[in-house]
């Protein structure tokens, strides 16, 4: 918005009549550049979002006129056991999927950072899962997790038959069995981001630290990590968003089952609002997911920006 007054005064006081005319045209163009994308954004993003906030306050099956019910849908969540399971699973997902993918990605990036013979092949191997569509990934992992699939076959081969399970079919294991393929993919992606970040680390600092007698860990802690800070901000924001919007792998493998034990907020929202006909409750769930995502991101960005300012 600050660009507009600046553009108006750009004509300058000298060539007044020409300047004003040119200035006003530029103003119009500039205004158009601001207002039209803003309008489109309003229409395509905020208007539907506001609509779903409105729908979340109603009881609506998609056909009959919606009935306004106030905050009933939100109140219903408190007594909804499935919602609590989905919320708990989403938190577990955020912590395990988010945490492990960042640690794994950073670890891999550190291992594969130094130029070595054939390093490209290793990087490619770890990045490869990112290339596959999630649905294809799900097909492969479904076979791996099958009752007579690879996992149970390996367990039997090492004499652990009694540990064999139906990984995706038992409520105790389903959620964790889903996190594995999600991680398998995400780690490669995070690795690439960190590899790019590591390229910006000044090797001279490492040299200096080495001369001063710093151990490898101390160099990582006090030289590498601080310089990775900008990329870490990006990685954490991406991870939180990816974790909260995770849907495809769960839907493709278990659809949130067995009996809601691997339900995430995203899958629960989809099955109530879109597959079922409870658009009001489904929208209320969507609003909760929206608030969680935006809330986490805003809190995180505000903190990291403040850190940067004070640094």
């Amino acid at each position: 918005m600050a660009a507009v007054p600046k553009a108006v005064s750009r004509g300058g006081p000298g060539a007044l009549s020409v300047g004003v005319r040119r200035g006003s045209r530029e103003t119009l163009v500039l205004l158009a550049f601001v207002l039209i994308p803003f309008g489109l954004e309003m229409f395509w993003t905020f208007w539907p979002a506001l609509n779903s906030v409105y729908i979340s306050l109603t009881q609506w099956d998609g056909i009959a006129p919606p009935v306004f019910v106030g905050l009933d849908n939100y109140a219903r969540m408190w007594s909804d056991e499935t919602f609590r399971t989905a919320l708990r699973n989403t938190v577990i997902w955020l912590v395990l999927f988010g945490g492990l993918s960042v640690l794994g990605g950073l670890g891999l990036a550190l291992l594969l950072d130094k130029p070595r013979k054939g390093i490209g092949v290793y990087r490619a191997i770890f990045f490869l899962p990112v290339v596959f569509s999630m649905v294809v990934t799900a097909l492969v992992w479904r076979m791996i997790f099958q009752p007579d699939g690879v996992v149970n076959g390996l367990l039997a081969a090492v004499g652990l038959e009694d540990q064999a399970r139906i990984w995706l079919g038992e409520p105790e294991t389903a959620l964790y069995a889903l996190i594995v393929p999600a991680l398998w993919r995400q780690v490669g992606y995070i690795m690439v981001l960190f590899l790019a970040g590591l390229k910006t680390v000044d090797p001279l600092l490492h040299e200096a630290a080495k001369v001063d007698g710093a151990t490898a860990f101390e160099r990582f802690r006090h030289v590498t990590l601080p310089q990775l800070r900008p990329i870490t901000t990006v990685v954490l924001a991406v991870t939180v968003i990816d974790a909260l919007r995770s849907f495809d792998i769960v839907w493709a493998l278990t659809k949130g089952g067995p009996y809601h034990s691997s339900e995430l907020l995203s899958t629960y929202q989809f099955s109530t609002g879109l597959l079922g006909s409870q658009l009001g409750y489904g929208s209320a769930l969507a609003v909760v997911i929206f608030l969680l995502t935006v809330g986490t991101i805003v809190v995180y960005l505000v903190r990291s920006l403040r850190d940067e300012e004070s640094a």
Partner: protein, 429 residues
């Protein structure tokens, strides 16, 4: 210099105008009013179908082609959509200002609901006076007595097995529940897993067990009342259903909860699982050389005093109340109700289905088909299927409860309480 700026501005203004125009017409919860009668009479007719199989698609096209021969004034088109997407969109489709004129659909609660909202064309004039049994005619009628659905064919559910395998294991079809349990025990003794129930992507199959057990133990009247929400799942009669089911849980293939429907039916076909409670689609999916070996028996009788009811899901057509061409849509419905049309459809599609019009003959009559037809014809009552007699929200509540029950039968009391609460919440939307 000014030229490109002006044209760019013009372009942007145009884009903006588009946005505003669509914004004005869009409000998420508004339902457009029916299309105002356009001056010129429309000749286009769109049939939206969820028959995605090769045979099904050809058969739909064959229906339209034959229809045009008799009614050259219409220009019908076929729009086929994958069933899950079709099901999701039908609500939107029926409320469009320019909807598809005719749609494939099924008898049951959802169609009645559409009719209650005034979304379906009155098909009374298209409905033939004779040819349909009273059951089918009733299923095609809405609360106000109008016909809103034209049934064309149905299939049946049963306990499917392979004849050669039963011979190999030296066992025969059971009639009663006790015989059924004894059969399961014998099979298990021979190292065969008695019952297939793949749940990984088809937990809805549990509904077939619930439907049949409830029909056999408590009868169709209670079943309907339960599904309509007039009875509660916490009722001791429902608890009895679960208690009875519990007797066969040890005979379910324990791998079932990790298998998808395809994998489960392959296992059944290979004879690793002996029996599969399913619809005729199970046999349709087998290779040609196996088809003749596919057989079924009626779901065992549990209480001889309860009138026998069978599941015979009825498929057919509906027409949208907002169609721009009600005469054309009605003419099409009239055509598909005829024996000729139903025979043509079954001949072209090659599926194991029975024509709904009793004057129609099955073009390919197999012993399996005749056995199925006889079973449904002798039934005292006919139900559709759990989610056809209720809706998909109710089906969700059911699968949650029953998959948990298979896993933890000791928690039955808790499960039924949860089921009742889920069901009531879904009913309140």
């Amino acid at each position: 210099m000014s030229h490109p700026i002006v044209s760019r501005r013009g372009f942007l203004a145009g884009v903006g105008a588009l946005g505003v125009a669509s914004a004005l017409s869009a409000c998420a919860t508004s339902t457009p009013s029916p299309a105002a009668g356009s001056g010129a009479k429309s000749t286009a007719l769109q049939l939206k179908s969820r028959e995605t199989s090769d045979g099904g698609r050809k058969a739909m096209q064959a229906l339209l082609d034959e229809f045009v021969k008799a009614n050259p004034q219409y220009k019908p088109t076929l729009n086929t959509m994958e069933p899950a997407a079709f099901q999701q969109q039908i609500r939107a489709d029926l409320t469009l200002a320019t909807p598809p004129d005719m749609l494939t659909w099924f008898a049951g609660e959802i169609a009645s609901n559409f009719a209650k909202q005034g979304l379906l064309l009155d098909a009374t004039s298209a409905f033939p006076a004779d040819g349909y049994s009273k059951q089918f005619a009733d299923l095609s009628t809405d609360a106000s007595g109008k016909k809103i659905f034209v049934p064309t064919n149905y299939y049946w559910w049963g306990m499917f097995y392979r004849t050669s395998n039963f011979e190999k294991w030296d066992v025969s079809e059971p009639k009663t529940w006790d015989e059924f349990i004894a059969l399961c025990k014998t099979l298990k003794g021979k190292g065969v897993s008695p019952i297939a129930l793949p749940l990984a992507d088809s937990a809805w199959l549990t509904a077939s067990w619930f439907d049949y057990l409830n029909l056999r133990i408590n009868g169709a009247t209670f079943h309907r009342a339960l599904l309509a929400g007039q009875e509660a799942y916490t009722d001791p009669r429902v608890a009895k259903v679960l208690d009875t089911w519990r007797e066969v849980l040890p005979y379910l293939d324990p791998d079932g909860k990790g298998l998808a429907f395809q994998e489960g039916s392959a296992k059944w076909q290979q004879g690793k699982d002996a029996m599969f409670l399913a619809g005729t689609f199970l046999g349709d999916a087998t290779p040609a050389d196996v088809k003749a070996d596919v057989n079924f028996f009626q779901f065992p009788i549990i209480d001889a005093n309860v009138p026998v009811a069978e599941e015979a899901p009825l498929d057919g057509f509906i027409a949208s109340a907002r169609t721009a061409n009600p005469e054309g849509a009605t003419a099409f419905l009239k055509y598909v109700a005829t024996p000729q049309a139903q025979e043509l459809y079954l001949k072209t599609s090659g599926s194991t289905l029975i024509p709904a019009n009793s004057n129609a003959k099955s073009p390919v009559s197999t012993p399996l088909l005749e056995k199925g037809r006889a079973m449904v014809a002798s039934a005292a009552d006919v139900t559709q299927f759990f989610n056809r007699d209720s809706n998909d929200d109710q089906l969700n509540a059911l699968t949650t409860a029953l998959v948990r029950f298979i896993d933890k039968p000791d928690e039955a009391g808790d499960i039924l309480k949860q089921w009742q609460s889920d069901s009531a919440k879904a009913r309140g939307n």
